[in-house]
Amino acid sequence: MNYKNNETICNYKSAQLLDLFQISSKDIELIQSAGKELSEHLDEFIADFYVWLKDTEEFSIFFSDQQLLQQVKNIQKIYWAEFLEAKIDEKYVLSRETVGLTHARIGLSLSAYFVAVDHSLFIWIKRILGSKCESDLDAVCRAFTKLVHLDTMIVVEAFSFMTNKTISKQSQALMEMSTPVTEIWEDILMLPLVGIIDSKRSQDIMNSILSKISQTQARICILDISGVAVVDTAVANHLIKISKATRLMGCECNFSGISPAIAQTIVELGIDVGSIRTNSNLKDALNHAFVSQGVRISKG
């Protein structure tokens, strides 16, 4: 999946993020000064982390390849080096977004990611408490925690970005599958509608019917709405608009599949259906279409 086209992944700029987590310049200084000592022990940190990760279920799934593992370790080292430098700008945010997108892409769950973050934080705090650092250790720990959580938030945003992207792709695919306008006879089009019709979907229906009419020069279009879950004023409005538009193109729109429940609903809602041709079932609608087109079907 192509996942980066100058789209906004994290909804926050670096300054907003710092603000949200109340990370002050004092916090940054604390991280940087502690980072000077800690960054010399990055390899030990990575080693510690993988001792823990080896026993998790995710390890065998994602890191069975030795070469890949080494790559990941290198990337992770760069990641924490950036962290200890604590230069929080748009480039920093971008690097965290990439981390999130990568994890989401390989199918690592957010929960697993979160557990790993928690363990990383645990290792860092242990190291801070055991360091020769002269600053207030509590404050350093707090600053570390805040920045780790800031990182995690960007990753979470990236994960949900990917999820939303998948959902919109899926619904787009569904949408295309759900408006199959077919020419069932010369000059006669047919479209069965099922499920829920919202304004986006009705626009798609309108587009596909109108383009099919212009392709086929059809005179009659049958829309079967027996499978539509709810007919409310909005849906009725959409259907009326569709029938008006097709008529402008010289094609009569005929709604079939008006169930007793739908008929009653439309009357209760007080919708004026005066100008719309309807039939209770598809058979009648088809019959009417044949008659009006002068088509005669005979047995044998």
């Binding site: 829920i196 919202d198 304004s199 986006k200 879950a229 709810v230 007919v231 409310d232 004023t233 909005a234 849906v235 009725a236 409005n237 169930s259 007793p260 429940a261 739908i262 009653q264 609903t265 209760e268 809602l269 007080g270 919708i271």
Partner: protein
């Protein structure tokens, strides 16, 4: 029987809400016609929340109204409120360019209809259908 609480905040939540409401009604309302009407009421109210208040919620509950078994559909939002309730309930009046049949339709379909709206505070609509 558990209530059904549905949060409405975008078009997709309206669609999924309708599907969930249909399932919920499936257990409690036997009559197919009544179910279809109630679902329409749900859809109208949800549509209105999106149109005027952006977000809100709809509650479905089996309850009693003046001692009689009924189903309540209640919509609640913290939107701008309705300026002229009487007008909003009249046919073909709409401030959003749509048919203007939603609220009067809901009122006709349901047996009892209460509306409470304060400008700047929001709108609560309680409707009841005897079963």
């Amino acid at each position: 029987m558990q209530n059904f609480n549905c949060y409405i905040y975008d078009d997709v939540s309206v669609s999924t809400g309708i599907i969930e409401a249909r399932e919920w009604l499936g257990e409690s309302v036997v009559d197919h016609h009544v179910k279809s009407l109630l679902l329409t009421v749900f859809a109208e109210l949800a549509q209105n929340i999106i149109k005027y208040a952006n977000r809100g919620k709809i509650l479905l509950e089996m309850t009693k109204f003046e001692g009689e078994e009924c189903l309540m559909i209640c919509s609640k939002d913290h939107g701008p409120g309705i300026e002229d309730i009487e007008k909003a309930l009249s046919e073909n009046f709409s401030t959003s360019g749509t048919l203007g049949l939603g609220l009067p339709g809901v009122k006709r379909i349901m047996d009892e209809f209460q509306i409470d709206s304060k400008l700047g505070e929001g709108t609560t609509i309680r409707t009841f259908k005897y079963l």
